[in-house]
């Protein structure tokens, strides 16, 4: 199909969304404790227990509006016809527990996902985190086990998060699975412009059964972060070396400019970054280069309490416009071959280069992220509508995600989110399998 500029139509049914909003409103009215008694403070609430168990349970039905002409639709659904929409029913149970005695604390967080979709039922439980923490003094903490570090200051992307799994810019606050590490935090405070220095050395072993997705096996990797609070600015210097991945260096910063404006940034330099790509005929190529990624962003709060998060991300490890175009062309060629001959050899080859490569979140070079959220409009307490846009600057494709969040009922979080995707053929968002998506997330904390 030729590159014809088009705007994907919104095919999600609005009556469905309207029904969902009505149900939400009813739930809120029923559960909200109106006319409650005078306030009080029960001191027993403050007593510390030896252990803690908590977490959340979540239900998330999702409706996808499919784009049957998109390359990624063809790649995924070439041998089945699922119609114009597909539904997916997700349930998540995230449990966390801790046990604390003296200087030691044991912490575990597990995540169980249940998914019912056109593929059938899938369920998996993963230990996201599980580590022992020793705190001999307020200046020193030693952690051993599976842990997420979440380095970096960016909201949607973190190019300096060298030992974290990539987060989803569409939902950047989701908790992630960690890696098995040994780390320490040493903190020192000072008077004057340099207020804090902390040093975090990290060991990341990568062996046959340990951290297998991190990189090359049989290596003991070393990472470190030096944090400074200098002239009211957070500054981190970061390094990762050891062989599983090529050596990389990072720096980030964050600073409040005024009572309602924060600025942040990250820069990462990756030595000898290797990437694999294919041309439109399916020939594999490998490229090695020094990659530079960076991010600059602001968080701004208006007088009307609207929050703007704006970030520009240069992904030095991303694919160029031509490389992505070749990838989509190859999928189309594979699909045409399947239609004409019944052979899916080329499509299977495309699947192998997709996973963790072309298929990673935001695989191209230049992006802008904008999120605008309005706190409690129309005097509705705990209600936050927002809209998030991610623009691929290279090909002008984008996703736009309005959402409604209500947290007025203690421990219950209701979120209705939709996403609309637009872009030309052979652009990143134009070739996504969906035109649009609508989801309701009901999360209960305990």
């Amino acid at each position: 199909m030729t590159d014809i500029k088009r705007l994907k139509t919104i095919s999600c049914s609005f009556p469905v969304l309207l029904s969902v909003v009505c149900i939400l409103y009813s739930v809120v009215c029923i559960l909200s404790p109106a006319n409650a008694e005078e306030y009080s403070f029960d001191i027993t609430e403050t007593e510390k227990k030896l252990y803690h168990i908590g977490g959340y349970a979540e239900l998330k039905p999702v409706l996808f509006g499919l784009d049957k002409n998109a390359a990624l639709y063809k790649l995924k659904f070439y041998n089945c016809d699922e119609g114009a929409t597909i539904q997916e029913y997700n349930a998540t149970l995230q449990l966390e527990g801790s046990l604390e005695k003296g200087i030691a604390r044991l912490f575990v967080r597990t995540n169980t996902d249940y998914k019912k979709s056109y593929l059938g039922v899938d369920q998996k439980t993963i230990i996201y985190e599980g580590f022992l923490s020793l705190k001999p003094s307020s200046s020193l903490t030693i952690d051993m086990g599976k842990k997420t570090l979440k380095w970096g200051k960016g909201y949607a992307w973190n190019p300096v998060a060298f030992i974290d799994r990539p987060k989803d810019p569409d939902d950047p606050e989701l908790s992630l699975e960690g890696f098995i590490i040994a780390s320490a935090d040493y903190i020192k405070s000072f008077q004057g412009p340099l207020k804090t220095v902390s040093f975090t050395p990290v060991l990341v072993p990568v062996y046959k059964h340990v951290n297998v997705t991190f990189g090359e096996f049989n290596k003991l990797n070393f990472a470190a972060k030096l944090y400074l609070l200098l002239y009211d600015t957070d500054i981190d210097f970061i390094i990762l070396t050891g062989g599983s991945k090529t050596t990389r260096y990072g720096v980030d910063f964050s600073r409040n400019i005024s009572t309602n404006l924060e600025i942040h940034g990250e820069f990462a330099f990756i030595n000898d970054y290797k990437t694999n790509f294919i041309d439109s005929n399916g020939n594999n190529f490998e490229k090695k280069y020094d990659a530079k990624s960076y991010l600059i962003g602001i968080r701004y709060l208006t007088e009307k309490e609207a929050t703007f998060i704006l970030e520009y991300y240069r992904n030095g490890t991303g694919f160029t416009y031509g490389e992505m175009k070749d990838y989509f062309s190859f999928i189309n060629k594979g699909y045409d071959s399947y239609i004409s001959t019944g052979s899916d050899t080329l499509l299977k080859k495309a699947v192998t280069v997709t996973e963790g490569n072309y298929g990673r979140p935001n695989p191209k070079r230049d992006y802008i992220y904008l999120r605008v959220s309005q706190k409690e409009p129309f005097d509705i307490l705990y209600f936050t509508p927002s809209i998030t846009g991610i623009l691929n600057i290279d090909d002008r494709s984008f996703s736009l995600s309005p959402e409604l969040l209500y947290t007025g009922i203690t421990n219950l979080e209701l979120r209705l989110k939709t996403a609309f995707i637009a872009g030309e053929r052979k652009s990143e968002y134009g070739e996504k399998q969906n035109d649009c998506r609508a989801e309701l997330r009901i999360r209960y904390y305990f």
Partner: protein, 242 residues
């Protein structure tokens, strides 16, 4: 002669009123509200016009004039969140997000009328200069002006009890003297260890008509902490201080 004597006596009586050292008075109010270094538990209650409420329980620690940190203990949806303030710097740590992010003083991590600057309140003398002091019956009225533009409110008017030297009411104002919110200090209580102060703080705002937020204090006591406790790196570990 008698007129001269009466004038001198009147002047002597009146003199203390003009000799009030506003800065010293503000520092005294600060010290009477909180010891310089302490821990406390607080319950924050946001009350909606129809009486619906949302409650939060916090453990808070403070050191010196510009270091304060809080840890959310309840409800379950907020448990483990912590906030830190070092002078003008503020951060929020959310366990799921896994890293501290910078927040600004005018935001509110709990919604309602209290903003971050109210929840992580420093000594007033650390952020404001006293422009003048007036005597209003049994109270002093202190007019305060923010030292820098990074302070949440440009101006404050503090009504303080003359005897106890404790605030009874604070009006938070913009630079143009527009009222943002009023904070009421109620139910003076003896917490032990020489700390006697209001145990309930209420606030309302013309910007949130009908809404009210309340802060109740408990188990407030003097305690020393190392400076390292008030650092970004320590934020995930605040629970270990309890």
């Amino acid at each position: 002669m008698s007129k001269t004597l009466a004038f001198i006596i009147a002047l002597m009586i009146a003199l203390p009123a003009y000799a009030i050292d506003g800065t010293a008075l503000l520092k005294q109010v600060d010290r009477n509200l909180n010891p310089e270094s302490y821990e406390s538990y607080r319950k924050l209650i946001n009350v909606e016009p129809d009486g619906r409420k949302k409650e939060y329980t916090l453990f808070s620690v403070k050191k010196g004039v510009d270091k304060v940190a809080s840890l959310f203990l309840a409800p379950a949806s907020e448990k483990g969140r912590s906030t830190l303030r070092l002078g003008d710097n503020m951060w929020l740590y959310i366990p799921n997000v896994g890293k501290p992010i910078r927040i600004t003083s005018l935001q509110s991590v709990v919604g309602g009328v209290f903003n971050n600057a109210d929840i992580l309140q420093l000594d007033y003398a650390a952020e404001y200069d006293v422009e003048k002091v007036e005597e209003k019956g049994a109270e002093y009225l202190l007019y305060l002006k923010a030292k820098t533009k990074t302070v949440a409110y440009d101006r404050l008017k503090i009504w303080a009890d003359k005897g106890k030297k404790l605030p009874t009411k604070i009006e938070c104002l913009t630079g143009a003297n527009m009222l943002i919110k009023t904070i009421y200090f109620k139910e003076v209580k003896d917490f032990g260890g020489g700390i006697t102060r209001p145990s309930v703080i209420e606030t309302d705002s013309p910007l949130y008509k009908g809404y009210k937020s309340v802060m109740i204090f408990a188990k407030l006591k003097k305690r020393d902490f190392k400076d390292e406790v008030f650092t970004l790196t320590f934020m995930p570990n605040l629970e270990s201080l309890r």
